[in-house]
Symmetry: C2
Amino acid sequence: MDAGRIAAVIDFLALADRLKHVERRGRTVGPDGAARAENSAEHCWNVALVALLLHREVAEPPDLGHVLAMIAAHDLVEIEAGDTFAYDEAHVLTQAQRERAAADVVFGGLPPDLGARLRALWEEFEEGRTAAARFAMACDRAQGFLQGVIGTGHWRGAGVTEAQTRGRMDPACAVAPVFEALIETLYERARQGGMFAEPRA
Amino acid sequence: MDAGRIAAVIDFLALADRLKHVERRGRTVGPDGAARAENSAEHCWNVALVALLLHREVAEPPDLGHVLAMIAAHDLVEIEAGDTFAYDEAHVLTQAQRERAAADVVFGGLPPDLGARLRALWEEFEEGRTAAARFAMACDRAQGFLQGVIGTGHWRGAGVTEAQTRGRMDPACAVAPVFEALIETLYERARQGGMFAEPRA
């Protein structure tokens, strides 16, 4: 690696550090019992851990390196675009446009081959057409849902009903029986904990 | 996955959430310029990103899935053992013993096959005998060093000299020329920024 390439990688990593300051709606609970917003960098590690635990539980395991690479890269655009709460309908409408513009900024600073590689991983995740992308999506959603159960109640506080979460969780359940088993177990706990908002009459 | 296996995985993931509350000495800087301690979960994601950027830059790239799996698992024992500052000599002396005991607790709650798999990844990383483990070690140390440069000065504040950091960084530089180039560039920036403590006379 020549000096210019090294400098570009360092600049990119310094920018990537900011993902640790992008807050999600889900909450994490410390050993003292105090909850705070999970950030997107922690989330990415946690999704990788879910993938590591579950990828041999599906009938045709996708390539683990490809899945974990996609997971490491999938939220980098949030450095520029911010996290979009999945149940904020107005914000979701503009999400794709905002994130494409963000991708130009975030990946554009890397040496072209590395930028293209990371951008391709992000696009594959977003498009969800490959088996690896669908597996990564299911891990991403299962982790977000688990975080909701751990953090008890960000759905209720935000007025999100069980039916609204189904729109995001049913595609994850459909990826493989292990995701369905995991997510339905979490639904039972969420219902028992009264974590969802009541439907409006 | 039967119900017992699912429940054990959920319990493990709920425990793993605590890695987001294990603070390291390196600091991360938010968009407002305020610095705070990086936590071990964020660190693990960041090390994965370093591995993703650098693994094609070495002469014989290790298997990416194996490397990223090792990186995702390598700090889980800190949930029980806490982070050990690399330059706290007394704490480092007891680190291996504390972490082995922690591994029994952290991995022991998983179904045996999954617990053995994660424990083996952690042990491979710790032992550093395989090419994949050495590559992961170099990514881990390069990320920690970069975080020191980004967070400007946790070494100086803790009385750590440049010579002390060499003991950890030279083995990472020896893994491949790309690590040497990256780390030496960071050393230049750290020196220019006056980030190390002066040697005691």
